[in-house]
Symmetry: C2
Subunit: 250 residues, 2 copies
DNA sequence: TATCATTGCGTCATACCGACACAATAATAA
DNA sequence: TTATTATTGTGTCGGTATGACGCAATGATA
């Protein structure tokens, strides 16, 4: 979608769309990747459509490759949004009307259901790239996000809610942090996602008990105080925890 | 879909379908509602399509109303299945070919994505009813379920997996048990869903600690041994637990 | 050299959980 | 009528996880 396809109906399947809530972590803040629409300047989630030979997962990967330059992104579908009126009044249409592009307008006038994905990416490695309908693609801290296009605010909210829930039985951080990181950094990530502060000492104890961290000999220097140890994820245990979960529960 | 609509393309949206995994509890067994295809005798999940004015949730409710006679069913979407090849070789088509119904065959030859729902219903109140393509609609215990049509086995497996996960932070039982029930019955439900046995005494302690049960004065008589107390769900707390979750987690 | 926020490591009381003991009960068999 | 037996109600006990907090060590800055 870097170039405007004049042939949506030939390229993509009717009614099907997807939207991605891309999370990144930077400056002790949880950020989301957003697009700004060309004419209306509305902000929107990166999204796209599905080709005849794609699963939704593949389509989402393709879209995120275009928007961030990254491949092999952590991606998870969390909900499907199917309100019959959700895709009405798409600001994209008003952009297109200026160009009198009939076929294209028709495509965007149809009803779309949207599969919501959330993605976790390394902030420093992503290269935000606008699509054809937007003039800007950039990271926004969660508390800077105003009203979004269509039902995208609702999608973002649900994604965050899901992420918070998953935190309880899934490891997180491998996709959001650099390879080596300190315990305070990891804690800050958790605190940002949860939106509340945690006890430093209890966090460390619990985190270490999961067995998904390797403590390194190095320390992170340069900070203005006592230099903390560096950690890395134990990928084997991390992957295992992703599948089995962190707690047995029942 | 009790009658065969000759006008799918006018009634429903292209590419969109849904499948429901309907769970019921009876005879200390977890059962699933299945349909048997008329000609091929393949077993399948109850499913359907989406009308232009429906959300997926509304469409699923409509389908389940037709298959069970029940309204206001506990319903939850858990995953969308979008393999491009998933809806190939639909046995329904071979049924239709006998009738040389061209338009109808075309409809079923298109690629469908399917939103998976799972539903929890009161076994005793449901009235299984086949649709136009099936000659039988009946409950099957989980271990009696053989290979299902298309990717329906995969859908069923994922539904069960989701249900087991949800058990950890959501109350369950209100939709599956009669109004009054005993602690052993509730435990049996948990054991059946989880596929493993639990300690009677620890189960009771944990269950009561949730605060979602009212202990009644009555006992259940007629059993061959000591008569157990009856319980009912405390609906207020139950609903609250559904939203907030059973455990704080982080 | 003193200051001070930050970090590493530890303590303590409490809650919770798994495993298990024992008496009470209700239908059935003797 | 009485003994048997499987089941249920209630409680205990030790181990473990959790929340709240103490204190000394560190490393840049003043």
């Amino acid at each position: 979608m870097n170039q405007k396809p004049n042939v949506y109906q030939d390229l993509f399947l009717n009614h099907l769309s997807l939207d991605c809530v891309v999370f990144g972590f930077h400056d002790s803040q949880l950020k989301v990747l957003l697009l700004r629409m060309k004419r209306t300047k509305d902000w929107a989630l990166p999204g796209g459509f599905v080709k005849p030979d794609e699963t939704f997962e593949v389509a989402a990967s393709r879209v995120l490759k275009e928007r961030t330059g990254l491949g092999d992104i952590f991606l998870k579908q969390f909900k499907i949004f199917s309100d019959p009126l959700r895709s009405q009044n798409n600001p994209i249409v008003s952009d297109l009307e200026e160009e009198k592009d009939k076929g294209c307008i028709e495509w965007f006038h149809q009803r779309f259901i949207s599969v919501g994905f959330y993605a976790l990416v390394d902030f420093s490695k992503a290269e935000p790239t606008p699509d054809f309908f937007s003039d800007q693609c950039s990271w926004k801290a969660l508390d800077e996000v105003d009203a979004l296009m269509l039902d995208h605010t609702q999608i973002l909210t649900k994604a965050l809610e899901t992420l918070r829930l998953q935190l309880n039985y899934q490891p997180i951080g491998y996709n959001l942090l650099p390879d080596k990181f300190t315990m305070p950094e990891l804690q800050k990530l958790y605190e940002t996602i949860l939106g509340k502060e945690l006890d430093r000492r209890n966090f460390q104890r619990r985190m270490l008990s999961y067995g998904i961290l390797n403590k390194l000999e190095e320390r992170k220097t340069g900070g203005a105080h006592k230099s903390p140890f560096l950690y890395e994820f134990n990928l084997g245990n991390y992957q295992k925890a992703l599948q089995v979960g962190l707690y047995g529960g029942w």
